[in-house]
Every structure is written in structure tokens, then in C-alpha cells.
Symmetry: C2
Subunit: 407 residues, 2 copies
């Protein structure tokens, strides 16, 4: 008998019929002799509908109240799934995040999990019941409801698996697993049987939207084996786990493409110490994530500072950057939205040279210009023109012989 | 400055527009210098919609999960009202029943309030905020969500007023107050300025659907002054409070009519001790409320036992009664649905004779036959033919000179 945590997203529980599909899968797993805890998202578009309702009351509803409103979505789907399991003769009971023991840090709409003490979940499992937990939510020490922000239900599931000491955390989604590259871009893409936490973290952060980085990070911290798989079939997906074979022959494991990028250039910044620090601390204080940064082109004692942010964050960023740029005497601030980031990822990369060179060759062979380059130990990213993403992904995939491009 | 608890029902918060109407009224009360706590029901038909959703999953969903599902309805309206108040510049925060400190007894869908310790509500009021509390719900000592059953939001409001030591509990509804009789039946009906708890309890139990008996009972136990009034205008409604003027000139205060009744007759019951007890304890164990009971007509050592139940409960009742009737050798069980109960109510009645005689005269003058009579200290009820309810109500209203029939 294994202790398994399963997570189903909003699409998987989007209707009563689909809830029964999920219930049948959960009941099957329980009947095979496993103890099963299930984490669910809100049904289909519920969260968006609730947000729209809030906005119809106020353009800027208080975050505390928005969290109060949104948490009802997962509570509903958890209750309905428990009812469906009961109907199939599989004993079950549902829990809100707070009831399940999730203690959060008090940030209403983007809370972190501070502690997870799943007393009642464990009790339900010991009584032979399936425990259904509302994802995406918890309560702060004062008892106020918080939501966990983006990817919150994935994080709930992995954190629950860690807290229970589960054998496995299965993340059910609408794709078959993690691919070497987005199959819509590169038909030769292949599903990976496993991927390390570090690699998955880079893949997830860089726009492979299968599993949220926070969940991967939580899994890595607690050694939770995560199985990313489809809720529409019985195929094995991709295991996310510790990299046990350090000397794997494959250096590059996958490619991530992110078109949700914009480049901001601050032109003609005086070359004095501390200016970059002022700009980026101002941006950081607004909670905006800056990705690639380049400060290099000196001309007449002036620098140009280039960096990328998420396309959604451009307006917020400009509101912060422009006053600082004026203040330090920069000549101009420009925005370019038509860019994309293509990255190669692989834990073996740190022990192999020549990966960057191969990537640049692949791009050059297609005549693709590289605007910014950024590297980490297990990743190399290039900012390119958005219109050339598919060409770039295909060329790189071929170059490294990934997926069905393997020779 | 007064401490006021207000309660708004589902119709009053049935749309975003109506939520703003409520918010304006609440904000006005707060701006007049009062501390205000508000209890809300779920928006419009939300509870029915959620129940329908549950039934689409299972004909008999587990009660624990149904409570989990239903409590989201009030949580949504509480959050939205707090948002609307914030939008109007009136600081507010919402609470679920458990957050507000309502401890229930663990009956999932028909819980009683065991304790109410409104620490957080009081704290919000002290911070100058309006506290918005989700009605109809609480948590048992194990943290499980319970709903309070019928009239739950009224009860939440009155119990909150008692726990806070509020000066007043205003129940906003879609009628102007408590009338001497249903104005749809008797155009001469008059609004009462005040009514005692006991009288209101009889009015409420007997089919005047303005304020739930549980809420009245709670108000009586804790001396909470309840103001029943309309959410659509600014008129004064009816105060429900302790009867201070015992020697009031008015003996009969109001008339209640209940057409939601059915009569069940067990024919030819052997005249042996203990048989009635067996029948009514079997019914009681199923949670069915029996109202009028008559056991009187002796024939050849046999009795007929007649009693009334709510029309909805007929099938449940027969399922219990028929086996017992067979067992004790009764000859038949008959159901008659076309009956109604007409009652006169007045706390002064216990000190005055002749009220029953006047009521019977009024009915006789219209040629209305009385099937069963039942009396309490402050009430006289007659079971009559359902088709004659309006005639009966008008005749009695006139006879006692109530409302606009006063001479």
C-alpha cells in the first residue's frame, strides 16, 4: 500500500461529468489498496467568474475580501468531488485549506505556506477515507483566508505530499507529461520519462506551463517525487525527482520558449556607480520580476541598460523606471514587445563545455540574431525576435538530437 | 452611539445593484455614529442552485459535504458586501460563521448554535469597521462546517446581537413588519408597532413567515430587541420585545393562517394504554413535527387518532405510521390534505375568558366547520377546510377589531 497525493486542475473538474471521471480514477487508486489524498482546483472558469463579479462591485476590491471570495471556488469542487466519490461507494470527506492544516503568511492573494500540519487529513486516511482538499488556499495565524497565488493548487498538492510523507505526488493535467520542447512548436518533441527538480524548475520558470515553479521548488526541498501526467488517459507521464544519474549521456534535456516577454532599454545612463542598483531595487520593490539584464555598451561615459520583464508587467515597470531614469539623467526609455526567450536546459551542462557554442551555431544556421544572452549552471537563454521562435526551437532541437530528433 | 446588528436576506442581496442598496443603508447607519455588524444570506437563489448542483452529483449527497457546499453561498455575499462598503468609503471586513466565532453542535445541515464568541467581530467594530458576517453557518468543535437549517441567518443575527450585547437587531425583509394577519388574505390587516416574543413565536410558528421561530426564541432568551422592517423603504417596522404592558387592552393581537397542513387519521385503534405513545414516538424519532392531536371518539372499545403534520411530511409520516398501525391492529390510515389551521394569538388571552367562544362564533357566523381545536395559554387554533381560510380570517379579524377593523 502506498500513500499517494493526486492533484486535478480546473479543466479536469470543469463539469459534473468530469468530476465523476476524476472520482472513478481516484476510487480506482483507493481500491488498489492505496491511501489517497486529492487536491482540487476550482471548476473550470469559476475563479475568473468570481474575479469578474468582484470587479463588477469595485475596480479595486480589497485583497482580503477577494481572497474570501475566491476560496469558495475550490471549496465547492472539493465538496462535489467528495459527493461523487461517496456516490461511487468510495468513502471520502472534503476539507478547506485551513481545515487541512495549511498555515499561510497573511499575504491575501499571493500567500506562501508557512506550515502544513495535516492532522485531519491523516485521520481521514487512517479511517480508510479519501481526503479531498481544496487547493490554492490557507489561513494565516489570525484565521484570515489567503489564496496561494498562481500555481497554488500544484503547491498545495506537493506541500501536502511532503507533510504526509507521501510516496508520490501525481499532478494530473491536460498534457501527457513534460516534453523536450513545446510539441506545438516542434513536432519532433519527445516526452521525457524523468527530469530533475533543477531542470524542471528552469523549464517551468521559462514558460513550460505544466507544473508551477513553486510546486517544483517545494518538491525539491522535501524530496517529493512528482508524477506529471494526463487526466484523460492512463499513460505514464514524466517523473520529476532527484537527479540520480549525474553522468547521464544527455547534456541538454529540453528547450523552453517564452514569448510572454518585453525588452526595456534605458538609453544613455551616466556611468556612475549605484545607478543600476537604484533602478532595479525600485523595480524589485514593486514585485516585478526582471529576467535577463545587460549593461555593456559604453559610449562617451554612458551606458545602455537592457532588461526583460513579463509583457503584462511593462506598464507597472515603466511607471517605476521613468522617474528614476529622469532623475539620474538618462536620455530615453524604450520598450520592445516583439521578443522571445529561447533556452536550453540540462543538469549535465555544468560538466560539459561547448553547449553554448552549439546553441549559437544552431541559431546562426537559421540566420537568427541574438539580442541578449544569459546563462546559469544548467541553462543558456537567448533573447531573439518573436517571429523566429519556432525556427529557433526546431534548429536547436535538431542540433542536440532531442526527442524524436535523436539519431 | 449604538451597537446595531442588521440582517439582510437573500432577496435583499440578490444582485450587485441590490448589494449596493444594502451597502448604502449600512454605510448610512455607520456614518450616523453607530457600530454596525451585518449578517447576510446567500444571494437570491444561490442556496437552491447549489443544492441542485449537489443533487446532480448524487440523489443523497452526504450531509457533511452538502454543508461544505452550501456555506460558500453566504461567504460570497459577505465578501461582496464588504467590497461594496469599501467602495463607498466605509471600512468593512467580512467573516465566515466560524471566523465570527460561531460554535455549532455538529449536526451538518440543521445545527444549533452552542456558543458564540465574536472576538474578531468585536475587534473589527472597535477598529471602526463594519463587520459583515456570513449567516446560516458555523463550525463544530472539530472544525467541520455546519449550516443552521431553516431561518439560520435570522438566528445568526439575533445570536450575534446577544453575544455582542447589541442595542438592537434589525431584520430586513421584503415586508414592512408583522401584520395582524396576512394582508393578502385580509385587506384590513394592520401593521403592529410591537409584539412580544411569545406572541411572535406563535405567529412565526403558525405560518407568518417574517421571522424564524428559532431567532425569536433566541431573542427571548437573551432579551434582544428585534426590529423587523423592510429593506425597500425607511418606514419603522415592528419591534419584537418583552411584553412590558401586561394589562394591555388588546387581548387578541394577531391571526395566523397555515395552509401547509395535512390531517392524518388512524381509524379504529384498539383502546389499550401505550398505543398513542408508540405511534407518536415513532414519528418523533424521524424528526417529524406533529401539530394538533385529537384522540377522542370512542366506539366499541376503539379510538380514532387524528393529527396534523406539514404537507411535505405526509409521505415520511405514513412510512412510519402504517407499520405501527398494522402492528397494533388499527383498521385504516387516512390522509386529508385540504385542511388549514387558523389561530388567534395574544399574550393577554391568558387573563381573559371568552376568547375561544368569540372565535367559534366568528367561524359559525360564516358557516365554517371546525375539525380540530387546540389551545395554548396565548393561542387558540382551529383546523378548518382549506377553501374557507380567507372567510375565516376576515370574520375573526372583524370580530376582534384588529388592524383597520378597529372601531
Amino acid at each position: 500500500m502506498a500513500l499517494i497525493v493526486q492533484k486535478y486542475g480546473g479543466t479536469s473538474v470543469g463539469s459534473v461529468e468530469r468530476i465523476f471521471n476524476v472520482a472513478r480514477r481516484v476510487a480506482g487508486c483507493a481500491r488498489s489498496g492505496n491511501a489517497v489524498a486529492v487536491v482540487v482546483s476550482a471548476m473550470g472558469d469559476t475563479t475568473d467568474d468570481l474575479l469578474a463579479l468582484a470587479r463588477s462591485v469595485s475596480e479595486k476590491p480589497p485583497e482580503r475580501e477577494t481572497a474570501m471570495l475566491l476560496t469558495t471556488g475550490e471549496q465547492v469542487s472539493a465538496a462535489l468531488l467528495a459527493m461523487a466519490l461517496d456516490k461511487l461507494g468510495c468513502p471520502a470527506c472534503s476539507f478547506t485549506g485551513p481545515q487541512a492544516g495549511i498555515l499561510t503568511d497573511g499575504v491575501p492573494l499571493d500567500a506562501r505556506i508557512r506550515a502544513f500540519n495535516p492532522v485531519k487529513v491523516r485521520q481521514a486516511l487512517e479511517e480508510g477515507k479519501v481526503a479531498v482538499v481544496a487547493g490554492f488556499q490557507g489561513a494565516d495565524p489570525d484565521g484570515l483566508l489567503n489564496t496561494l497565488g498562481r500555481g497554488g493548487s500544484d503547491t498545495t498538492a506537493v506541500a501536502l505530499a511532503a507533510a504526509l510523507g507521501a510516496d508520490l505526488c501525481e499532478i494530473y493535467t491536460d498534457v501527457d507529461g513534460v516534453y523536450t520542447v513545446d510539441p506545438r512548436l516542434v513536432p519532433a518533441a519527445g516526452k521525457m520519462d524523468f527530469i530533475s527538480y533543477d531542470e524542471m524548475l528552469e523549464m517551468a520558470s521559462l514558460g513550460a506551463k505544466v507544473l508551477h515553479p513553486r510546486a517544483v521548488d517545494c518538491g525539491r526541498a522535501h524530496g517529493v517525487v512528482i508524477h506529471v501526467r494526463s487526466s484523460f488517459n492512463e499513460e505514464t507521464g514524466t517523473l520529476v525527482k532527484e537527479d540520480t544519474a549525474l553522468e547521464t549521456g544527455t547534456v541538454v534535456r529540453g528547450i523552453a520558449c517564452d514569448t510572454d516577454q518585453a525588452k526595456i532599454a534605458i538609453i544613455g545612463v551616466p556611468d556612475r556607480p549605484g545607478i543600476a542598483a537604484r533602478i532595479f531595487s525600485a523595480i524589485g520593490q514593486r514585485g516585478i520580476n526582471v529576467d535577463l539584464i545587460v549593461q555593456s555598451i559604453r559610449r562617451n561615459g554612458e551606458n545602455d541598460i537592457l532588461f526583460t520583464v513579463r509583457a503584462d508587467d511593462v506598464d507597472k515597470t515603466l511607471a517605476v523606471v521613468k522617474p528614476v531614469a529622469d532623475e539620474v539623467g538618462a536620455r530615453d526609455v524604450c520598450v520592445h514587445r516583439g521578443v522571445a526567450k529561447v533556452s536550453v536546459i540540462g543538469a549535465g551542462m555544468m560538466h560539459h563545455s561547448g553547449v553554448a557554442a552549439s546553441m549559437f551555431e544552431a541559431l546562426a544556421s537559421e540566420g537568427i540574431n541574438i539580442e541578449i544572452i544569459s546563462t546559469s549552471e544548467i541553462r543558456i537563454s537567448c533573447l531573439i525576435d518573436e517571429t523566429r521562435v519556432q525556427d529557433a526551437a526546431r534548429a536547436i532541437h535538431r542540433k542536440f538530437g532531442l526527442g524524436n530528433d535523436r539519431q
